[in-house]
């Protein structure tokens, strides 16, 4: 593998679901460039899909005429993804992740997105202010993140 090049890519796109897959593929490709294997790149893709979808559905209430900013940064230690918006913010303290055993017994759809993000990424944070964002990090040298090599 070539030496790792660190860097940042930022893209702004409308809050319409047709753009979600495009951003998901960008995240997956960035994970591959950062040295993660296919399994981890798939997890990054799904977490990104869920984070962007949450912004469209909840932060913007389904409106498709707003903007979302997506930033992906490759650092020597990690891959950092940021999904930023100007809609309704989400406070980490307000998040209640479902207990999957109970969830599966009740068989009620919905509410799985945040759980998936937490499971598939190493660190997840929600920042609010002038701009709100979901910040997701995957570490290159963490146990279980096979395929990510520190060059």
């Amino acid at each position: 593998m070539n030496d790792l090049h660190t860097g940042k890519v930022e893209i702004t796109f409308p809050s319409h679901t047709q753009f979600v897959h495009m951003i998901t593929m960008l995240a997956s490709n960035a994970a591959t460039v950062a040295g993660f294997d296919e399994k981890q790149a798939g997890k990054v893709a799904i977490a990104t899909d869920e984070a962007v979808t949450n912004v469209i559905r909840h932060a913007y209430g389904g409106r498709s005429d707003r903007l979302i900013s997506f930033t992906v940064e490759i650092t020597p230690e990690s891959l950092i993804l940021k999904v930023a918006h100007t809609g309704q913010g989400l406070k980490k303290s307000d998040i209640k992740l479902p207990v999957m055993k109970e969830y599966l017994q009740k068989k009620k759809p919905g509410g799985l997105g945040l759980f998936i993000i937490n499971k598939f990424m190493d660190e997840v944070d929600y920042l609010d202010g002038e701009e709100n964002c979901c910040l997701m990090t995957k570490y290159r040298n963490k146990a279980g993140n096979q395929g990510a090599k520190a060059d």
Binding site: K39, G110, I116, F120
Partner: protein, 114 residues
């Protein structure tokens, strides 16, 4: 490639669905319509062959959760086969493999019906 196409074929008394593309917030309505149209035919034995399914997000899983009760009440089943690693990971991580039988291949799933 289209975002999502789904076709259904009847095999071994079951409906086998072939989704091609990805299932997320943008395509989930097409996925839901396909499942619902099968249930409207009162066909409750369903196998989803995921060979050409790139990924599924929580919206798609919500659709499966929403119909599983109706299917089991009608003595049917909803099985899945040919998952890629990404699709399997999401099922496995969420514990959905306890709700839905997962087979390596469509042939294995059809064999299990007999």
């Amino acid at each position: 490639m289209a975002e999502l196409t789904i076709h259904a074929v009847e095999k071994e008394s079951a409906k086998v669905l072939y989704p091609n593309g990805y299932i997320n917030a943008h395509t989930v309505q097409d996925f839901e319509k396909s499942i619902q149209s099968i249930l409207e035919e009162k066909a409750y034995k369903i196998v989803i062959n995921c060979n050409e399914l790139e990924y599924i997000n929580s919206s798609g899983l919500g659709v499966l959760m929403g119909v599983v009760e109706e299917i089991t009440e009608n003595e049917g089943f909803l099985w899945l086969s040919n998952m890629n690693e990404t699709v399997f990971n999401i099922f496995d991580t969420l514990g959905f493999t306890h709700l839905f039988n997962v087979y390596q291949t469509e042939e294995e799933a059809l064999e299990a019906i007999k």
